[in-house]
Symmetry: D4
Subunit: 164 residues, 8 copies
């Protein structure tokens, strides 16, 4: 099982750490790299064209501002491409979101929330779980663990509320 | 191969025809239904919980306004859920888009463009193609066919431009 | 008199303290809990379905981002549900607001301002005051107290202005 | 049982017909009137101040653009005020929504969706049902009827889908 | 010459200091006060109705969020009312701006920029200068002084640029 | 009494007819002209610089898109300049509004609603009424007439409502 | 003198006719073609990489939605690339604008207004006029002709206004 | 080779340092100055009208809020004008962007990203490179250098990722 995590700039790494860690937790090999749709178009082209042959099964692409990266990779592959819009210094991520999600007919990008680093990874795992059923149980465990944490938070909450 | 296409209201069918037709063109069985996160929460719950047991491998959920449908289904399954925001009579689809894509950590929704009916289907096919490699060739053929159509349009364009 | 205060995440508690304190000041019993439309859908379902039988008369639901919580609870009850959109790290609360207020026909959510914690409580009190007229006087007192504070601020202001 | 339906301009009536009809269907007396926060401020003041004495138990206020009506009425009463933002010729209703919902602390307005005429009425019914339990059954019937309609739509849908 | 400066909350004073100081610099008497369209509607009504009789010739009203103050004062007077939208903790002032400027036909509010404290005062001076021509020269002097400052900044700039 | 009505393009005339008619109804002389901040900058400069000497006492400037007209005229005069943002074919008037209202410190523009043609005129009348008190009575009459029309609409409304 | 006019889809031709006609009026050779950043990435790459060798001196790229075309071409050339955001069926062109203009450091796109077809051509002419001074006079003539048309419109306006 | 860098306020200098430094790095003479469309309209007029005669070949204009500067300069010259929208204290730069880019037909402004200081300079260099081919090689070198930096970042990234 192998997923690529591509970022438009190395400055996006703090956002993407969560993505990479989550994928690793599910036992998925991660091919992480910096590739820019605009500064390294040839490398982006080569990467996306060869991704499948290199064993990559799903691509996560994170970029900010006029975020063309996910769309440009999707143009060169039929692998599912997950777009992760990154909030930049202006426009609060709206530019990244619209540039990523509003793809024209024919070339979809599976877009998650602005800075939704964990969800990008979980979506990749869900997609891979169709082919690798062993991931299913882990996803279910995660769902249960999330629910359990909410229930635990409840107990904590009851004490907090006493003092309000 | 089986995909579910769920719509929040039967009035969304004109948007979704393209989705269903595209899936069928790829030989994918379609389980289409109307389910509302708000008006039929129990049915939505039952559908999503049992989707995997019913052979469904990917879910496309289309809704407008405060579009909770995709997120609510995703809460009950570990299958990949594709969210298709539908433009409604106000806010030009921005409400549907944000309600679909801005999911909190833990429960991703793979969001496509507002009214991006064809792309919702193509994303489902790409996801299924990991498990069913026979879809790959069709996806490649479609990519080539799109490129060919653009090139054909070019020839048409040259004549049009003469007369400008 | 009993109101529920439900939050999508325990991290929303700082916003909701004001809500809970205001309700308590009016002598209303508060059932506060963390419930997620996405991470604990079954618990959310159970809570909303049983709310009325548990003596709850109005529900306040606070959530951020794709804020489905209020709408999901409203799907399972005929009690009035007050939606409190919480500002999250991107989009300045616009996503929370639209996801909460733009409900489709049939399932209303009574939405207050982004981070409008006190108003969520006051709206609950106004609603309860129809059945419990003893709350009316307190609401009037609060209105008068607010007016008095504005008038007091005026006196303070006159001194400040001298020195400008 | 009595609800007021106040509109900022008689041109809002087409939107509000659904509100009035829904209230009547639940057996609620409707006091409908045109009142402008800006053109008839004295009448708006007099109406809101005397609403409770006139037997009104909940107020629905619909207005567009810089929609001050709901907020201005709420300033003069402790009755719950439901704000219905009306889409006008520019800004797609965003101005109406923000002017209605973003109320400052102390004076809540229970805001529903832009042009959410039916939901304004249903919210009023839910609020009244706390005091008048006979409305509860009707609300439940409505919920069931909505669900039944969705299920019926499903049967219709299956036929439609055959031909796609 | 007398202008009123009305603020929705004393917390708006830091923004309005510039307004008051500018008016004083032009020799205009300032009647400053806190008045809330929602918390002190009667006082707002009384103030606006009596403003002209009290010698006030122009009103500046500053408010944030669902900023109804300027519009509500304008409803009760035929004096020119200048609306100053104040940025609050969410929505970056867009709510204040739209609530102030998008007034319905019949009741104008002369709106300046979000947090445009100095311009609110200068606009008041321009308006008063029609009646009090002695203000004209001061306005021209200010225009010249602004231009001179820009030209001075240029000289400073040339030095700064050397070192880039 | 003389007001100028300046439009960025003759295509704005349908919006401005209401402005001109309203000014005439108040007995104000109207100097109407097309002037573009971008296409006729010299004429705009000459007009604004000489406006006061030509007896103009207030300027209404209407423009769409990147609406610089009001600001550019305001740069050349100390007369009050009223900005009327005109909705154009995209962005629903938001570009016109922000370009008109968000003026930097020193040069105010009194902005009215998008397409707020009547209010631009009424604001001009209010401003002129400081110097020409004979306008006051007409403004009061107009306020009363608006209120009367609302009250008449009410009678009409009562009949309409019977049949709902 | 040669400019390329590239459109993401042949459906953009109606918008671009004005661009092509304007360029031709200035005696500029036009290389027009349909190229999609997503459907024909190789052709887009080849076109942009070879543009300079083919005598092209400036590129105009028009696209809608997640409009990556201008940015993708700019990645492969050092020629100036003018981006023309095209309004599509949702979001009123805001998605096209942000996707075109918000380019990351290193790869600029010279963006004009949404659907600003004529300005895209005029900007190309201005750029070319640095190298081809014979274009300067034509640009000046156009500026004068625009001013003359505004002045003519004024004469027409005066007659129209009589009858208001 | 000479470019002008014009800023609406000296407070924009920190943003523009990058612009000036980049131009200098390409060996382009920089004429930098503060000019306000509103506070020094005559100087802005004089500057733009005489720019070409003063050897200036391209103008970069930076401004915030209702950013009229680029458009006003473009009205007085046929040189290409690059607009650089500067983020100000409210609206996150959206006002600056729309005021700069949404120019009416006839007067284009080549707009770059909000705070896109480096790209404004690079666009100027690209434009100048048509006339001064010696700039081409430097632009290509810069493109290669950017690509090389991305590739270097990749090596750094691989180490970082080990530890996640």
């Amino acid at each position: 099982m192998k997923a690529a995590v591509v970022m438009g700039s190395v400055s996006d790494l703090p956002v993407l750490e969560k993505t990479i860690r989550t994928l690793k937790n599910y036992g998925i090999n991660v091919d992480a790299r910096v590739l820019s749709a605009h500064r390294t178009p040839d490398e982006a082209h080569a990467f996306a064209s060869g991704a499948e042959d290199n064993g990559i099964e799903v691509i996560i692409a994170a970029a900010g501002k006029a975020a063309h990266l996910a769309g440009v990779l999707a143009a060169y592959t039929t692998l599912p491409v997950i777009g992760l819009p990154v909030k930049s210094s202006t426009m609060d991520g709206l530019d990244s979101l619209l540039s990523t999600v509003q793809m024209p007919p024919g070339i979809p990008v599976a877009t998650v929330a602005i800075d939704g680093a964990e969800n990008a990874a979980l979506l990749a795992v869900q997609i891979l779980s169709l082919k690798y059923p062993e991931l299913k149980q882990k996803l279910l465990d995660h769902k249960r663990s999330m629910a359990a944490k909410v229930m635990e938070a409840n107990q904590h909450l009851q004490k907090e509320i006493e003092s309000i």
